[in-house]
Symmetry: C3
Subunit: 336 residues, 3 copies
C-alpha cells in the first residue's frame, strides 16, 4: 500500500488531491474502486474519467479539469501507469535457496541469493546469477548462463550453451536453444546438420509463454537488449534481433533473418529467412516479409475478412487477376 | 465391454439386431471389426456402410435398409457416437492421492479424491477440487483454483490467480496466466506494465495442447462455459470468449478482443485487438478479422494456393491493383 | 578433434592439404579460425572463400583453385558438412541409467542402456529402448513405446498409446498424443468425441520444439520414416505424413489431411482437413492449401508486404475485385 503522496513522488507526478489517501491496487477507469489507481491515456475516454470512482487518476494536464477525484498529473500517463504497476505486482516473489526437490549438478554454480524451485534441474557447468529465479520444473542445460535477477517461469527448457543477460524474464514453457532446422538432402532423405552454435540473449529482455528460440547452426542466434517477445513466437537459427524491438504473438522469423532495432513486428507476421529489416520498421499483423526492407515505415500484406459470398467471388477473380490485367491492357490499346 | 442392448439403452437408440452382441471398442466404418461400434453420419459413405464389418452402426433411420450388420438407429449418429466414445475411452484414470514425488505447499488445499501426479507442484494457497487430476510435472500457481473433476495433463503451467471451473480439461504444456504483452515505450525502450489481472475459465471447457491464455493487465481474461480451444492457440490479455465458442488450432486472439457465444473460429485465424465479434460468427481458416463483426454469418479472407507461376503473376498484379482499378475507371469514362 | 586426413577419409573427400592438420570445430566461411572446418556450397560466396581463415574448406572441384587453405573436395559440400557436423556435436550425451529423481512405474520396461533423466516419468507399461534418452522432466505415457536410440529432450509430454520408431528425436516441450479436436454439437454445446486412436511415428524422425501431434480419433495419426518437422507445428488427429517430408516452423495440418512423401511444406503454411497432397509437392510459406493437390510442383498463395499506403489502397480494391472484373467484361462487350 502506498499513499498518493508517495506515488506522486515515485512517479514524479503533480498531485492534485489529498496526499494521505491510501492506494492498494490498480483498476480500469470504468471500474476502479476508491482505493485503486487508474490512468487516462486517450482523451476519447473522458466520459469514463468524469464518472470514475478511482482513488486517483494518472492523466495529462489537459484532462485535469475533468477529473472528479484526485489527479496525478504527468506527461505520459500510460508510461507512468506502467511504472506504478510495479508497486502493485501480484506475482509471488520466491525466497532464495535451492528447493530440496531440485536437481543441481555439483559442477553448476548457483548464487546464494538465487532461487531454484522444486524439480528444477541445473545441469553440469551451468551458472545461475544473483537474485535469479528458476521456477518449478524448469531445466537449465549444461554450461548455460542465467544472468543476475533473471526469472524463468515453470516448465521452461534452456538447452546447453545459452546465455541470458541480467533481468531477463522467460515465461513458462519457452524453449531456448533447441536445434535449428538444418538438414541436407542426401538423395534418399535428410542428413542432420548438427547445430553447434548457441543462443545469446541480452539484458532486460522479456520472452512470452511457449516461445521458441533455436540455437545457431554454427554461430549464435542473437537477441539484443530490451527486446520484448510475446507468446508462441518462433525464432529460427541464426536470427539476429536488434535492441528494443517488439514482436507480437505467433510471429515467425525464419533462419538467418536479421531484424533491426526499434522494430514492431505484428502478430502472426512471417519474416522469411536470410533477409534484413532495417531499424524502425513496423510490420502489420499476419503479413509476410519475403524480401529485405531498407526503409523505415509501416508495411503490410494481410487481407481482412469479408462476408463469405463476396470473399469467395473476389478470391475467384484473384485467381485470374493476371488475365484481367491483360484484358485491361488490351482495352486500353484498342481505345487509343 | 458393453452389449448392443446396453448401448442402445444408454444412447436412447433403436436397436435392430441382437442385444447380446458384445462391443469392446470403436472403429471406422471401413475398418471396424466384429466387436467394434461405428457410425454413418454422411450418406455419401453408404458404400462403406454396405460393406462394413462392424458389430453395429449408429445411423439415421433413412440408412437403416443399407446396413448389413446390427443398426443402432438415432437422429444424430455423430452425436450418438460422441456419447458412445466415452464408454471406450483409453486414457488411464489415475487413482486419488498425492504422489510422493509431488510438492504441495502446506497452505494449499487438495481434495482427498483429487490426484496429484509425480513432480506436480501445487503452490501456496492453491486449491484442487474433488476428483481433479493434476498430472505429472504440472505446476499450479499460488492461490489458483482447480475446479472439481478438472484434468490437467502433464507439463501444464498454471500461474497464480487463475480459476478453472469444474470438469475443465487442460491438455499438456498449456500455459494459463502468463503475463500479457503490456509495455509502455519510455523513449529509450520498454517499461513493463505488470499484469495484475487473472484468468477465469468456466466449466466444461477443453483447452488443447500448448495453448496459451494470458492473464489480464488489470481485470481478468475470461473464457466462458463450454468453450473448446484446440492446440497452439494464443489468447491475449483481457480477451473475453463467450460460452460454447469453438476455436481451431493455431488461431491468435489479440488483447481485449471480445468474441461472442457459439462462434466458430477457424485454424490459424487472427483476431485483432480491441474488437468485438457478435454471437454465431464463423471465421474461416487463416483469415484476419481486423475490425468488429456485428452480424452473424461466415467470414473469410485467406487466398488458397495456386501453381507457383500463376501465383507469382497474380501477386505482381495485386501489387498494382489500385492502379489497374484507376485504369478501368479511365476506360469507363472514355467509353461513355 | 580430428585431423584433415581422418576427415577426408570419413567424408570420402579428396584432401588438398596437410593431412595432419587438426580440426576441433566448425566455422562459417567468413569467420572460421585456423582449427575449424567450413564449407562453400554456393559459388556466390567465392570472395569469402578467397579470404577464409579456416583450417579447411569442403568445396566442389570447380572452386578448388580459389581456396587459400586446405581443401576437402566433394560433390555436395553442404551434405558433406552435414556429415562432418556430427563429429563436432556439442550436445551433452547423458550416461545410461535411471536418475534417482525419475519416477518409473514398476510395470514399465526401460533398457539398461537407456537414460532416464531427473524428474522424468515413465508410466505403466511403457517401454524405453536401448540407448534411448528421456531427458529431465519429460513424461512417457502409459503403454507408449520409445524406440532404440531415441532422444526426448526436456519437458516433452508423450501421452498413452504413442509409438516412436528408432533414432527419432523429439525436441523440448513437444506434445505427442494429446486429444484431437473432436466434438459433436448437441444443440446446446459440445459433446466430446473421446479420442481412442494413438500416434505412430516412424524411424529417424526429428520433431522440433513445441510441436504438437494429436492422437487419432479412432485410428492412429501417422508420421512416416525420416520426416523432419520444425518447431511449433500442429499436426491434427488422423493426419498422415509420408516418408522424408519436411515441414517448416509454425505450419498447421488439419484433421485427416494426408501429405505425401518428399514434400516440402513452408513455414506457417496451412493444410485444410480431409485433403490429400501427392508426393513431391512444395508449399510456400504462409500459404493455404484448401483442396487436394494431385500434381507435384510448387504452390503458393501468400501476398508479400508492401508499404502501408499502397497496401491499404490495394486491399480496398481487392474488396471490390469481383465488381472490377464485371466492369472490365462490360467494357469488353461495349468495345466489340
Amino acid at each position: 500500500m502506498l499513499t498518493l503522496g508517495e506515488l506522486a513522488q515515485k512517479l514524479d507526478a503533480t498531485l492534485v488531491g489529498d496526499a494521505s489517501t491510501p492506494v492498494d491496487g490498480l483498476g480500469t477507469i470504468q471500474s476502479a474502486t476508491g482505493s485503486q489507481l487508474t490512468f487516462l491515456a486517450n482523451p476519447r475516454y473522458r466520459s469514463f474519467l468524469e464518472n470514475t470512482g478511482a482513488a486517483a487518476v494518472l492523466l495529462p494536464e489537459s484532462q485535469q479539469d475533468y477529473c472528479p477525484v484526485a489527479a496525478l498529473v504527468v506527461k505520459d500517463p500510460y508510461l507512468a501507469f506502467a511504472r506504478a504497476s510495479a508497486f502493485f505486482e501480484v506475482a509471488p516473489q520466491p525466497a532464495a535457496g535451492i528447493h530440496p526437490a531440485a536437481t543441481v549438478d555439483p559442477s553448476a554454480r548457483v548464487a546464494d541469493s538465487a532461487c531454484i524451485g522444486p524439480n528444477a534441474v541445473v545441469e553440469a557447468g551451468a551458472r545461475v546469477g544473483e537474485g535469479a529465479v528458476v521456477m518449478a520444473n524448469t531445466v537449465v542445460g549444461a554450461g548455460s548462463v542465467i544472468g543476475d535477477a533473471c526469472r524463468l517461469w515453470p516448465n521452461v527448457t534452456i538447452y546447453h550453451g545459452v546465455t541470458l543477460g541480467p533481468r531477463t524474464i522467460i515465461h513458462a514453457n519457452c524453449v531456448i536453444g533447441a536445434d535449428g532446422f538444418g538438414f541436407a538432402f542426401n538423395g534418399a532423405g535428410w542428413t542432420k546438420v548438427h547445430q553447434v552454435g548457441g543462443v545469446r540473449i541480452g539484458a532486460d529482455v522479456e520472452i512470452g509463454a511457449s516461445t521458441t528460440v533455436d540455437r545457431g547452426a554454427i554461430e549464435d542466434t542473437v537477441i539484443g537488449n530490451g527486446v520484448i517477445l510475446d507468446n508462441q513466437i518462433q525464432v529460427a537459427h541464426n536470427v539476429v534481433i536488434g535492441d528494443h524491438t517488439a514482436v507480437a504473438g505467433k510471429a515467425g522469423i525464419a533462419g538467418s533473418a536479421k531484424i533491426g532495432a526499434y522494430c514492431l513486428i505484428g502478430g502472426a507476421a512471417g519474416i522469411a529467412g536470410h533477409i534484413e529489416i532495417c531499424d524502425k520498421v513496423q510490420v502489420l499483423a499476419m503479413s509476410l516479409v519475403s524480401s529485405s526492407i531498407n526503409e523505415p515505415g509501416t508495411y503490410g500484406s494481410a487481407l481482412p475478412v469479408d462476408k463469405q459470398s463476396r470473399y469467395r467471388r473476389n478470391v475467384a477473380r484473384f485467381r485470374n487477376l493476371d488475365d484481367l490485367a491483360r484484358r485491361v491492357s488490351k482495352l486500353e490499346r484498342s481505345s487509343d
